[in-house]
């Protein structure tokens, strides 16, 4: 494979390839900034354009669009609390409070850099584990999926800010909503109330846009003034401080990248789970938790590193088995098939140049968009100065049209609005929207993997398989650690 490395690199650095990469990256970025739209949509729309292109060029264009969506979606999460995709939901937890403090440039600088570091880390791990990828992917099965879901749900306890009782109720609502629709285990159609639309369950995109974007817009429209409650720091110094913070909090960056890569390797889990897990680890491992939720830069760095690292991890099952690591990888596999390339275990052997091209495209598109993001971060901070009465209706339009554009269903718009009202009430009466989202994201993975494990091996498999047991112990440690540290601190103080 090494003999193909230089020719593939030389090809991707030609002006034509770089132009295609930049075009794909810019389109992916614009789509990710629009709430509700992301990589799969832009890739699906670009697919017909690639029919007449050489295979390598088509993959460069598509991978360029796919690779940048993580960072693009975080821009709206930071500036207006409306994550462009579910992959960036956790970024808004601390990114938006920073914007309200006039530190949007700081958050965007950190986000761009953490995204780049995460993507590079993911690719490095991809290169390292490609020879061992088969074993790594096969080591994960239903018990491990279940324990990953449990680990994610335990974040509700760690992140239970405000009243924990109401946070757990919110988590219960999220889990109940995740039970709606077709049950893949039994074929039952549950809780659809005679509405065909609900056969697919409660969709994530309308839920996220509604809970965060629309709810925030309703609240903003009632206020006077601007999003930023302080005069924004529009100097490049603020942006550079953000860049530097990624290296100052190197541990958070590294752990976020590792979580993202690992989650990416596991097919079907994806960036939505990775960024929540990474946010949880950032909180759990921090000595001073007092600023989380109020604008702690580590709450931006961890999720951003993770959601971009999933792309590198996601290429592992895609390239090794032909199993898509996520929706974007599924579209990519479709594109490969359309170009006469059979995805599967022989892809790396038969088409090493294409495999390398995908990896290079992922790296270069992330470098490109990080530079663009850093250049744009200063003007973007001025957006937070615009009167909320102007911004709020625009967020409503982008959110509702984004939900509509994803599938073309008016029902999506109505559900988005329903979640918006729910989110507004939750904000008002101190119910955690984050808890609801975490439970909604993980609910279906939790129940499917639970039943599959139970059917195949019995409940004991959760604790007899080493990786599953390891994940369980890590979850226990994460949940218990703050209490242990607190007791230790009190004992030391007593001495």
């Amino acid at each position: 494979m090494l003999e193909y490395a230089w020719p593939a690199l030389a090809y991707i650095l030609t002006p034509n390839s770089l132009w295609l990469l930049a075009l794909g990256a810019m389109l992916g970025f614009v789509f990710a900034v629009l709430p509700g739209l992301s990589g799969p949509q832009v890739m699906a729309l670009l697919l017909p354009i690639t029919f007449t292109m050489p295979s390598a060029d088509a993959m460069i264009l598509l991978m360029g669009a796919s690779g940048v969506t993580g960072f693009g979606a975080s821009i709206t999460a930071i500036l207006i609390n409306a994550p462009g995709t579910s992959q960036s939901a956790a970024t808004s937890f601390d990114g938006y409070p920073l914007t309200k403090q006039g530190r949007a440039g700081y958050a965007i600088g950190a986000s761009a850099t953490a995204s780049l570091v995460g993507a590079l880390f993911g690719v490095c791990i991809l290169m390292l584990i490609l020879p061992l990828a088969r074993e790594v992917v096969l080591a994960f099965s239903y018990p491990e999926y279940f324990m990953m879901a449990v680990m994610g749900l335990s974040m509700i306890a760690i992140l239970a800010q405000g009243n924990p009782w109401r946070a757990f109720i919110a988590g219960g609502i999220g889990l109940c909503l995740s039970f709606m629709g077709f049950d893949p285990m039994t074929g039952a159609i549950r809780y659809t109330f005679g509405w065909d639309y609900l056969w697919d369950g409660a969709q994530l995109i309308p839920a996220i846009i509604g809970l965060f974007g629309i709810a925030e817009a309703i609240s903003l429209f009632q206020k006077r003034g601007s999003i930023s409650r302080e005069r924004p720091d529009s100097s490049m110094r603020g942006v550079w401080e953000g860049v530097v913070s990624v290296f100052v909090h190197w541990g958070t960056t590294l752990r976020g990248s590792m979580i993202g890569t690992l989650v990416g390797v596991v097919p079907g889990v994806g960036g939505s789970v990775a960024n929540i897990l990474a946010y949880g680890q950032a909180v759990a491992t921090a000595k001073d938790k007092s600023k989380f939720g109020k604008g702690d830069i580590r709450g931006v760095i961890g999720p951003e590193a993770a959601n971009n690292a999933t792309d590198g991890g996601g290429l592992v099952p895609t390239l090794v088995f032909g199993i898509p690591g996520g929706l974007e990888m599924a579209v990519l596999l479709g594109a490969l098939t359309l170009h006469g390339i059979n995805p599967g275990p022989r892809l790396i052997i038969d088409y090493p140049d294409i495999a390398l091209m995908l990896i290079y495209a992922l790296v270069i598109s992330n470098v490109f968009i990080a530079i663009v993001g850093l250049m744009l971060s200063k003007p973007m901070t001025y957006l937070t100065l615009i009167k909320t009465v102007y911004i709020a209706p625009v967020i409503m339009v982008l959110g509702l049209v984004g939900a509509y554009a994803a599938n073309g269903y008016v029902e999506d718009v109505l559900v988005t609005l329903g979640f918006g009202v729910l989110g507004y009430l939750m904000m008002r009466y101190d119910y955690s929207r984050i808890a609801l989202l975490i439970a909604l994201v993980l609910g279906s993975l939790l129940q499917t993997s639970f039943h599959q494990t139970n059917d195949l091996w019995g409940v004991g498999a959760f604790f007899t398989r080493p990786i599953s047991l390891g994940l369980f112990l890590v979850t226990l440690t994460m949940v218990a650690m703050p209490a242990i540290l607190s007791v230790r601190k009190k004992m030391r103080a007593a001495k």
Partner: protein
């Protein structure tokens, strides 16, 4: 007994959990297992919360209902901050000083905003999005927000035009 918006929300959650609990009985044991467990626990928790909202003395008895944060996270400040009182001045006052008073305020404005979004969503069935968007924005900005008509028209045309260029011209995606 205090009947408030908070207790109404708790009541709504209790009804929601009841619907899921009762609904779970019509499915096979495998399908109903997790919904039954989660909605049962959720219902009990929602009823306790409802009782706390209705009777403050009940809330005083149970510290967990007043607790902030969990697992030593008492250092953590509330995430779901209450919606700011619209009449409360913002810290960064410069942009707020010359704003006209909106047509409605408080809950009435929130309800009007939600109704406008509902009308906008339903209008997508009958008119193209590039017609619905400017109309919605003009209504929100000029009628509800009492903003300058010229600026409002420019924003409405700009957003509608931007989305038209992205969807219809660049991506040829007919919505």
């Amino acid at each position: 007994m205090i009947i408030s918006g908070k207790s109404a929300v708790s009541f709504g959650i209790a009804v929601f959990m009841t619907v899921f609990l009762v609904g779970s009985f019509q499915y096979s044991p495998k399908s109903q297992l997790l919904p039954l467990i989660i909605s049962s626990i959720g219902l009990v928790m929602a009823l306790v919360q409802l009782a706390a909202d209705l009777f403050p003395a009940f809330e005083q008895r149970f510290g967990v209902l007043r607790q902030r944060g969990l697992l030593g996270a008492d250092q953590i400040a509330p995430k779901s901050e209450p919606v700011q009182d619209p009449t409360e001045p913002m810290a960064f006052e410069e942009t707020a000083s010359n704003e006209p008073k909106p047509l409605l305020e408080g809950n009435a404005l929130a309800l009007a905003t939600i109704a406008s979004m509902l009308a906008f969503g339903l209008s997508l069935i009958f008119v193209p999005y590039y017609v619905a968007i400017p109309l919605f924005l003009l209504f929100m900005l000029i009628v509800l927000g009492r903003q300058n008509p010229l600026v409002s028209t420019l924003i409405a045309a700009g957003v509608g035009g931007f989305l038209f260029i992205i969807f219809d011209i660049v991506l040829n995606a007919r919505m």
